[in-house]
């Protein structure tokens, strides 16, 4: 049963990906679709930030991940390299959990 789930999911997800790459360009010239396609990642990334940092299953919790995000934001604000942002954020959460 697990194999059926894995293979069907793979087929569905790859189907969406490939469809996006093969849809004729004429369909894509609509401004509404273009604007939606530009804005959608913004909304999804914002949602990924908050769910990654605050969600635990179906509940919202404040833990070491919030410290990670704050440190990450500080690094981004200081225009530090991306690797520094990520490593500093990981170190912050690991440190808070050690204490």
């Amino acid at each position: 049963m697990i194999w059926a789930g894995v293979l069907l999911t793979a087929a569905g997800c790859f189907g969406f990906k490939l469809a996006g790459w093969t849809v004729p360009s004429t369909v894509l010239e609509r401004p509404l679709l273009r604007r939606g396609a530009t804005l959608l990642p913004v909304a999804l990334l914002a949602a990924l930030v908050v769910t990654q940092v605050l969600a635990e299953g179906r509940s919202l919790v404040v833990d070491a991940r919030v410290v990670s995000l704050a440190v990450g934001a500080l690094c981004l604000w200081r225009r530090l390299p991306f690797l520094v942002v990520v490593v500093a954020a990981a170190a912050a959460a690991a440190l808070v959990r050690l204490l």
Binding site: M1, V6, K17, G20, V42, A55, F82
Partner: protein, 206 residues
């Protein structure tokens, strides 16, 4: 390119937790690795493992998982404009069309979009699959939380969002709020989809 590699490593390392989650849900090591190799889109993989692990039906698991993966099709539509790919390359490009590769490509300087896309996509693919193997094999032995990897992924997403906040701050704020409201009401993974509704006010306005 450096951005691609560091994000690839940060997100890819989180694959260890998918491997562990899949093992906990009753996946064999081979099944966990096959999921990462074939499905390769994190949220969908976690959704599948969590539904099946909780005793959910294959149909329910596949439905929520594929629905979550639908956004990758939209990413491909955006990417096609700046990342040239013909024939068989398109098939490879399709498989590495995910949140991270799209985000890096679309925030790359003009002309460098293909570099951002391919480096991120292939780096994340390599590390994600290797770490899935490690995570599944050692299952509970690895604790991504002890290394702060969950927090690092959140910061990585923020880093991707950062350059867009100036122009689209309101959409980001609305998306974040919608996701927070949806977390207690919907299964994991769905709040991100709900947040997609945040683009509607901006679209209707015109």
């Amino acid at each position: 390119m450096r951005r691609s590699l560091s994000l690839g490593v940060a997100v890819g390392l989180y694959g260890a937790s998918f491997g562990a989650a899949a093992a906990a849900a009753g996946f064999s090591v081979v099944q966990a690795c096959a999921t990462s190799l074939l499905v390769f889109t994190g949220a969908s993989q976690f959704a599948l493992a969590s539904v099946l692990g909780a005793g959910g039906s294959v149909g329910a698991g596949v439905a929520s998982s594929v629905l979550l993966g639908g956004r990758n099709g939209l990413y491909a539509v955006i990417l096609k404009e700046s990342v040239p790919a013909a024939r068989w390359r398109r098939v490879v490009a399709a498989q590495v069309t995910i949140d991270e590769s799209t985000a890096v490509a679309t925030t790359s300087p003009r002309g460098l979009e293909p570099v951002g896309f391919w480096w991120t996509g292939l780096t994340v693919y390599a590390v994600w699959n290797l770490s899935t193997l490690v995570g599944a094999a050692s299952a509970s032995a690895i604790d991504p939380k002890a290394f702060g990897l969950d927090g690092a992924v959140g910061a990585a997403f923020l880093g991707l969002l950062w350059p867009r906040l100036r122009d689209h701050g309101r959409v980001a704020l609305l998306g974040a709020l919608l996701a927070l409201v949806a977390v207690p009401l919907t299964p994991p993974g769905v709040p991100v989809l709900v947040a997609g509704l945040a683009v509607l006010p901006s679209l209707v306005k015109r």
